[in-house]
Subunit: 117 residues, 2 copies
Amino acid sequence: MDDDHCECESEEFTARIRGGMLDDDTVMDLADLFKVFGDSTRIRILWALHESEMCVHGISKSLGLTMSAVSHQLKTLKDADLVQSRRDGKNVYYSLCDEHVEILLSTALTHLREEKR
Amino acid sequence: MDDDHCECESEEFTARIRGGMLDDDTVMDLADLFKVFGDSTRIRILWALHESEMCVHGISKSLGLTMSAVSHQLKTLKDADLVQSRRDGKNVYYSLCDEHVEILLSTALTHLREEKR
DNA sequence: TGAACAGTTGAACAAATGTTCAAGTGATTG
DNA sequence: CAATCACTTGAACATTTGTTCAACTGTTCA
């Protein structure tokens, strides 16, 4: 047995890591979910919606973005089940689906602040 | 006063949203942090490291990736203060910096599972 | 019905990103 | 000190992604 190799290069060790690994679909789903958060426009939209339900025009006006850009991003957010929508006359109102958005954003903010210390 | 417009299009409302908005740097930092999580290779590396500290060779062997690819991604993870490294002889050992990685991953997993219901 | 408003969508383009390959550094050992 | 192992790095390439523009759908109201 070589003992000039570190433990983590052993067959036993690598087998254990492989055994504990998330399956491929889950890894992809996780990455895809985080990708949705990985854009400043979408972060802004989510932050705005955590204040209140809003229509597309209201979001684009508040954030200084074109309606088209907002609509494209809302579609991405909706596909990820982060926001939901309801139509009322000419307007479509968007709101956050659940509390996970807030947890993810606030955990990330905490990380950023500790990093700066 | 038009009352065929929704509340969220009013000047008062948009001003409130703008006032509550995160500043540009914070939004960018948040997006950049989430971007780091938004890749399946990095998710796999983080998941492996949450089991145990590992050297680069061990990670690449466990996950079936080239050392170069792993090293590039570890640099990204380190720049985001998600992992830290220490050298011991020829080996460089990487480990998670803090508990935020686990919180973010587990919150995201919870979201994915609720989504499926 | 037709004009106006709210929103969506697809194509096109530029910018960002992940992997590979090849060349490099740094530490150990004979 | 030369060889080897562990790791890093930069350039190149293909892929992905966000915005814009233009055309489109859907609703209201006169």
